[in-house]
Amino acid sequence: MDVLTLLGQLLNSTLVFSTALIFSALGGIFSEKSGVINIGLEGLMIFGAFAAGVGTYYAQEAGMGNWSPWIGIIAAIIVGVLGSLIHAVAAITFKADQTISGIVINFLAAGLTVYIVKLLFEGSAETPLIHAFQKKAIPLLRDIPVIGEGFFNAYPTTYLALILVALSYFVLFKTPFGLRLRSVGEYPGAADTLGVNVTRMRYIGVLISGALAGIGGATITLTTTSTFAHNTISGQGYIAIAAMIFGKWNPVGALGAAMFFGFSQAIRNYVQLFEWSKSIPQEFIFMIPYVLTIIVLVSAVGRSAAPSALGTSYDPGKR
């Protein structure tokens, strides 16, 4: 196998892991850019994965065929938004500690989804299998060396993720909405005195994060597991938070960070294909993605630039 094919394949494999992270990290960005910490990404992903499993199943039952996964995505968006609404109400309206209310989401999601699945499917803790998304190659682009195999023979969700990265960047940095959202995360007092409705912007930021993390969770159900169970999401939400910080709260940065995690994951798997890897204790191979991340952080990435007002509730009367 020549190096270029290999690279293309590694890249392709990278995207399997990173797509869900991209969505969720983007979600995190919208919330945190508006000044609301979102440690609840994990829970929101659980909600999304759950809704995709259930939604797609019923859509299939209703005979919607190939459209079913898209129904699943829509269900994930709706449920993700509803889940994040809890976070928004607690953190923004009731000025609860943002970290705490994020944790609440994680608890409620873990409990509610499995509970509902059991109610819906006669005690089964797993949703029935669904026909998930299939990879689609994009005709001409597919033939570009490395990139073609890497990016243009992928799931619809991967294309969607890449589009959303561009869209998010555009929305955040080129539109009035983005300017206002960021101002609210940097200095709500300033935004408020200019007539920007801090509460509303923050609600929107958090709800967008619910929608995006919901799609992130759905991606896992719809491209890797084909079913939702209690452990469909196990830690990806936290990795998405890491990707968001690693990417310095920038959509393109987050894309890079998510790809990096995916790539180091792919590397770790790839190593195992070689005979010589058998002489390395397995545990050290498993560590690769995590240790690699720390090494890259130490050597390349400097201080992170969190929005200044991140984690603070806004109270015009506060001095």
Binding site: K174, T175, P176, L179, R180, R182, S183, E186, Y187, G189, A190, A191, D192, T193, L194, G195, V196, N197, A305, S308, P316, G317, R319
Partner: protein
């Protein structure tokens, strides 16, 4: 001045905070085309009243009329729609945003769905020109001077077409030149028919520019007077409730040996900009040396270098004859250097600590505040009790969080802490920023007391008057160097101003 049409009428406004009535049935009328000054001690309730007018706070009682119509202003957006603009005491600027972005935020010009940055910049540039504000639309706030930021604040209100303007202590952080420029801008604004409420502690400014003055003390209106029928002494007396002396009683200095010696100190920033460029300076025991200069000429770096908050690249810094360059902040403090920092919120205080905890911020680890590894709460509280009394720090109690205290009292707490450490060298950076005349008087008195006790005092201030009144010797800093030294009695504002602008050889006489 058209004394007739009131554009704003505040009627019997009352606002309570826990434990305090910030505004007690305050009424105030602003006429069209008028500059109405609001005067009062720190914590008198001026900002609170203005925040109510701007919709940030809701009054507990009272009503507001704009242009004769009763209105309810429950958020700033309403205020903006009513044509009210406010420049806040603490700037409300988003640091990583550009000037343009800060100005257009909330009413961005659009092209399609995008922000039309091009036309926005053009509009900002036009406004800037129209009022002679000289700001660069594309600079980021974090990169521009305080004076510039002040002008951006003003432009925000102008951009929104406000014709009732509230300036809450706009001059507190400005250099004399900048203040002159601001005055000119205000005159231009009223000439256009706008009306202004101006809050300032500087009586000179009030006398110079306002039409009427309302004096507030402890939340109540004491009086409203026409400016041309009053004088600074009367105003000060009304405000504080006692007579205030502006003349500082100062005996001749009794100068001793050099305490602080800086020799050829150089600091270059990461991007290669020279911040301190071979700076030489000496402060002797028993004298106050004032550093005069335009903001951004190395004052901050100078202080940080002396106090150990910033490393120097070369040169020597001696305190009491001992080399202290690049020692840790703690070592330097222990070798007898006290420091009243420029930014009291950022550096001077832990706002969520109590008064008593803040008063031992630098000494908590020494006896009697600590015994072994443990804090001695009793000693800490006793110390706090003593200082609060001695320095007249007004606070409900020593357990109160500093955050809830007024700026003036916060500053007093810092000064108390630093002076009580009994340093041989006291560095005071902008020590009276934002303080009322009464508080300023007491700060000045304390600095002079220190000098009379034989301590060396280094005073850095943008307030020329303060430098002239308090210092025994003035050193002018320009582009990271001391470019000249003069004695206050031998110079005047004009001369100093020229030297600060880098033209010392045409202006004052270097002392040495």
């Amino acid at each position: 001045m058209s004394a007739s049409t009131p554009v704003v009428e505040l009627k019997q406004i009352t606002k309570r905070f826990p434990g305090i009535v910030a505004n007690d049935s305050i009424s105030l009328t602003l006429h069209k085309g008028e500059i109405h000054a609001l005067l009062g001690e720190n914590g008198a309730g001026k900002s609170t009243l203005m925040n109510i007018l701007f919709g940030l706070y809701q009054p507990d009682e009272g009503s507001i009329e704009i242009g004769g119509k009763p209105v309810k202003i429950d958020n700033p957006n309403k205020a903006i729609k009513l044509g009210i603009g406010m420049v806040h005491q603490h700037f409300k600027l988003v640091q990583p945003f550009t000037v343009t972005e800060n100005i257009i935020l909330g009413m961005e010009p659009k092209k399609g769905v995008n922000i039309d940055y091009k036309s926005a910049s053009a509009q900002v540039a036009k406004l800037s020109e129209q009022y002679g504000l000289r700001v660069n639309p594309d600079d980021k706030i974090q990169d521009i001077s305080v004076g510039m930021q002040q002008r951006v604040e003003i432009m925000k209100t102008l951009f929104r077409g406000a014709d009732i303007l509230i300036f809450d202590e706009p001059t507190a952080v400005l250099t004399p030149q900048e203040i002159e420029e601001l005055m000119a801008i205000m005159r231009r604004l009223v000439a256009e028919g706008k009306s202004i409420i101006l809050i300032t502690h500087k009586l000179k400014e009030i006398m110079e520019i306002s039409d009427r003055v309302t004096i507030i003390r402890r939340g109540k209106v004491i009086d409203t007077v026409d400016t041309d029928k009053t004088n600074p002494n009367e105003l000060a007396e009304k405000m504080v409730g006692r007579s205030v002396s502006f003349e500082i009683d100062k005996t001749e200095p009794n100068i001793g040996p050099a305490i602080l010696q800086l020799n050829n100190v150089k600091i270059t920033s990461k991007d290669g900009v020279s911040l301190l460029n071979g700076l030489n300076l000496e402060v002797k025991a028993g004298e106050i040396v004032g550093i005069a200069g335009v903001d951004g000429n190395g004052q901050t770096e100078l202080i940080e270098a002396i106090t150990g908050l910033r490393k120097i690249d070369s040169g020597s810094i001696k305190a009491g004859g001992k080399e202290i360059a690049n020692l840790s902040a703690r070592k330097i403090a222990e070798s007898g250097v006290g420091h009243i920092p420029e930014d009291r919120h950022k550096h001077g205080l832990v706002l969520d600590f109590s008064v008593s905890e803040n008063l031992v911020l630098k000494t908590y680890y020494q006896a009697p505040y600590s015994k072994g590894s443990f804090l001695n709460r009793n000693a800490i509280d006793e110390h706090a009790q003593e200082l609060v009394g001695k320095y007249d720090v007004r606070t409900p109690g020593i357990e109160t969080k500093v955050r809830s205290m007024s700026g003036g009292n916060q500053q007093k707490a810092i000064i108390a802490r630093e002076i009580e450490m009994n340093p041989e060298l006291l560095i005071a950076a902008q020590p009276t920023r934002g303080l009322d005349v009464g508080a300023i008087e007491s700060v000045h008195r304390q600095l002079i007391e220190q000098r009379d006790m034989g301590k060396a005092v280094l005073l850095v201030s943008f307030e020329l008057q303060e430098i002239m009144n308090v210092s025994d010797r003035i050193a002018v800093i320009f582009e990271g160097r001391i470019v000249g030294e003069v004695l206050p009695q031998n110079t005047n504002d004009q001369e100093l101003g020229l030297m600060m602008a880098g033209c010392w050889d045409q202006g004052g006489q270097p002392v040495e």
